[in-house]
């Protein structure tokens, strides 16, 4: 009988894992709330890195690895990063063969461009929608595997808990089947979490609201460790719309876009150029975001000098976004921009084969933490998503499932917890707590943090965690959110505790009270959970997941 691997989440990393599982002789069950077309992966624009060295400049996976380590302020796992960089050319070829419509060079192979922090041009891309093009190609591959009967895709399913054996090893998962309004359990030889980042904890970010960090937080309470949670990347140039923050691509600055603020006299101050010289606007995301924050003023991105024709040719997506959502023509007016949370370098701690500290439980994509250290380089997230899915799948198919003797009891207990979150007599919506959570996280954990604010944020979250234990939510409103909110609050607390413990500034983590980088903290932060308490520690090598 074929082995069965359960994959939670159907974005790029989940798809990559599912396809690889099937291509290695096992069966995959891919479950998620929505289809892959709705996953955050489709929003990734920039591209995917691979040291192909088509231009003969001398690029190698080793240099790609060095750039990634440097970008991550040296706290990523170098062996794991090198393995990913070495696999990147083969992954690019895999995706070419599956029919990803990459932008092509004259030789008919994917073109490569340079992004901030890279020594050589090594980012393959597909117009302004690399993520979407990769997802389309992988979904098509998934379709034939589904027709062959080795892959099953189920939507309208939300992860609730892991099924664990008596020794705490993973043997499946418990899910909320939204259509049938049922709590169900699924056994599997191994489980791969591909549930994305922690976006919704911060309210509206550049990503989707579907990524809420709940699955990782639940796994955390069941024995998995979390890592580098304080490392959260702010993208410097986003526009604020009534509904969300939307990303203005780095290419706008690549084409010569200039950042400035206005003095009271009305004079423009090109603060990045003043501080870093002519190429100041091209500094990495963490540097630009921090400098923008330090101005304390509304910052503008000016691309008007490019003219309408060039903007439409080279930055048409920017033009469409501004015209549609903020009614601004970027060829006539500068764009008001603000830094906004964009990517989570932290997540579940994993070993080189992407297994978490819970045996037979794997984590891939943005919900795992291993390659990006303190800051992620552009083009490395799509690579990590595809690579991690493949690595985890190849290892998972070798595993045999652990017997979960008390599956029914675990499912019943989970159902009790799920049903116990709400009551038809309650008028208290969990949305209220969600709003409070995002207000606390945005207010106390900014681009530049300080110990006092973090302490006060932790106290606020403790207060709401206590409330969660005592009250029942309105049963008419989103039962899954009613269940998830306490886990989201816990994840928020783990983020703040990690930021509090790292008493230095490094990569995306800036402390006003500890502005210098301290060699003593050149290590990854780890969170463990026991008896309701979160403990933070630091370990040098990322391999000790």
């Amino acid at each position: 009988m074929k082995k069965k691997i359960l994959i939670i989440g159907c974005g790029l990393s989940g798809l990559s894992a599912a396809v690889t599982v099937c291509e290695n002789g096992a069966c995959a069950l891919l479950v998620s709330p929505y289809t892959s077309e709705r996953a955050q992966s489709v929003m990734a624009a920039g591209g995917m890195n691979a040291a192909l060295d088509r231009q003969g400049l001398g690029d190698t996976p080793k240099i790609h690895c060095e750039d990634t380590m440097k970008g991550g302020a040296e706290i990523a796992d170098p062996e794991a990063v090198l393995a990913m960089c070495e696999a990147a050319p083969e992954i690019t070829l895999w995706m070419e063969r599956l029919g990803t419509v990459f932008s092509l060079g004259e030789d008919g192979r994917p073109r490569q461009r340079i992004m901030a922090g890279h020594t050589y041009p090594r980012t393959v891309f597909a117009g302004a929608s690399t993520g979407k093009q990769l997802v389309t190609a992988l979904v098509r591959r998934a379709r034939v595997l589904e027709a062959d009967g080795v892959l099953e895709r189920r939507t309208n399913h939300y992860f609730l808990k892991l099924l664990l054996d008596a020794k705490g090893r993973c043997g499946g998962a418990i899910l909320w089947d939204e259509l049938n309004k049922e709590v169900i359990s699924l056994r599997a030889d191994a489980v791969i979490l591909a549930s994305g980042g922690q976006n919704l904890i911060f309210g509206k970010t550049t990503g989707t609201i579907s990524c809420d960090g709940t699955a990782a937080a639940v796994a955390f309470t069941q024995g998995a460790r979390l890592k580098n949670l304080e490392m959260i990347q702010y993208h410097p140039t986003t526009i604020e719309t009534p509904s969300k923050r939307m990303l203005i691509t780095e290419a706008a600055r690549g084409e010569g876009g200039r950042l400035y603020y206005l003095e009271e006299s009305g004079k423009r101050v090109y603060f990045m150029e003043d501080k870093y010289g002519e190429k100041g606007n091209l500094k990495p995301r963490d540097v630009v975001s921090k400098e923008m924050y330090l101005t304390g003023k509304q910052v503008y991105l000016d691309i008007t000098f490019l003219g309408e024709k060039k903007i439409e040719e080279r930055l048409s997506e920017v033009s469409k976004l501004c015209k549609t959502y903020i009614h601004l023509d970027p060829s006539k007016e500068p764009i008001p921009v603000v830094p906004c949370i964009h990517f989570f370098m932290g997540g579940l701690a994993v070993s080189h084969n992407h297994e978490t500290t819970i045996p037979n439980l794997y984590a891939v994509g943005e919900c795992a933490s291993i390659y990006h250290g303190a800051n992620r380089l552009g083009g490395n997230s799509l690579l990590a998503a595809l690579y991690s899915g493949r690595v985890a799948a190849k290892d998972a198919v070798k595993r045999s499932g652990f017997a979960v003797e008390d599956e029914d009891r675990q499912r019943d207990a989970c159902r009790e917890e799920f049903d116990g979150c709400h009551s038809k007599d309650s008028h208290f919506p969990s949305m209220y707590l969600l709003n409070n959570l995002s207000e606390i996280m945005n207010g106390k954990f900014g681009i530049v943090r300080n110990g006092q604010d973090l302490e006060s944020g932790i106290e606020d979250l403790d207060f709401f965690l206590q409330i969660c234990r005592k009250i029942k939510f309105d049963a008419l409103i989103d039962p899954y959110r009613n269940y998830a909110i306490k886990y989201m609050l816990l994840m928020g607390k783990a983020i703040l505790l990690s930021a509090q413990a790292r008493q230095e500034s490094r990569g995306a983590h800036n402390r006003a009270d500890y502005p210098e980088t301290d060699p003593a903290f050149c290590a990854a932060s780890y969170c463990t959970y026991a008896d309701g308490e979160i403990r933070v520690s630091f370990e040098k090598d990322g391999d000790h997941a």
Partner: protein, 241 residues
């Protein structure tokens, strides 16, 4: 402003419910629904407690197709539709679920038929994709199909359960054929045979997909392949002489 929503509880009958709403400049319909749902308490226009409005939402910026619905009679994405730009009658914004899919709850519909038909049409590659620089732009566009279902909503010929799979099959068929898929039979039987070329699919597509152009290319190739097939069959028949 009044927001009039066609609602339906799971296994229940559809009903209309209205809410009072104070619009904000440049706000889209997705934000209107979000704001209603984020109220501490949601009461309808008659002061009756109302349940959370179920709708599908993900990227909120026209990249995922989740929030397709019918707004003031127009099938569209809620995240790309702005009340201030609509010819709203009686100061009332009317929101309904797509009508060609089964309703799960309120504005959420079950679009699984779309995926079933893609599978039934065997839209996949068996060999490595052929790269065609000349077709790059159309292939790129075709791969951007959101699977939102708006084209099926406006198609005058698409009805659930018939052998006509509708325009949602065209982009994936085009992409797969251009990248090397040989068998075009499903396209002929399940798309070309039922299409009256109204062009409604093209007009409603949030990605501005050139479905008619792709359709024409695919039809041309199909006719050509039939001719070649016929000529080859003739040669084979003649060869023994």
């Amino acid at each position: 402003m009044k927001i009039r929503i066609k609602r339906q509880r799971p296994d229940g009958q559809p009903y209309w419910q209205e809410f009072l709403y104070q619009p904000v400049a440049h706000e889209n319909v997705a934000q209107v629904l979000d704001t209603l749902n984020y109220r501490d308490d949601l009461y309808d226009i008659e002061g009756k407690k109302a349940p959370h409005i179920a709708w599908e939402c993900s990227c909120q910026q026209k990249q995922c197709g989740a929030c397709a619905m019918v707004i003031c009679g127009n099938p569209s994405l809620a995240c790309a539709t702005f009340p201030e730009e609509l010819p709203i009658k009686n100061d009332t914004l009317i929101v309904e679920p797509l009508s060609k899919f089964p309703v799960i709850e309120d504005l959420r519909v079950d679009r699984s038929i779309l995926y079933e038909n893609l599978k039934a049409s065997e839209l996949w590659l068996t060999d490595p994709a052929r790269v065609d620089s000349d077709r790059y732009a159309t292939n790129y566009d075709a791969a951007k199909c959101l699977k939102c279902g708006l084209c099926l909503e406006v198609c005058p010929n698409y009805l659930k359960g018939t052998t006509f799979f509708g325009p949602a099959m065209i982009p994936e068929t085009y992409l797969s054929v251009m990248q090397g898929k040989k068998d075009g039979l499903h396209f002929h039987k399940n798309v070309a045979a039922g299409c009256s070329k109204s062009g409604a699919c093209q007009k409603v597509c949030p990605m501005q997909m050139d479905t008619l152009g792709m359709f024409a290319t695919l039809s041309g190739r199909h006719v050509l392949s039939k001719k070649i097939h016929k000529a080859d069959a003739g040669k084979e028949a003649e060869s023994p002489l």
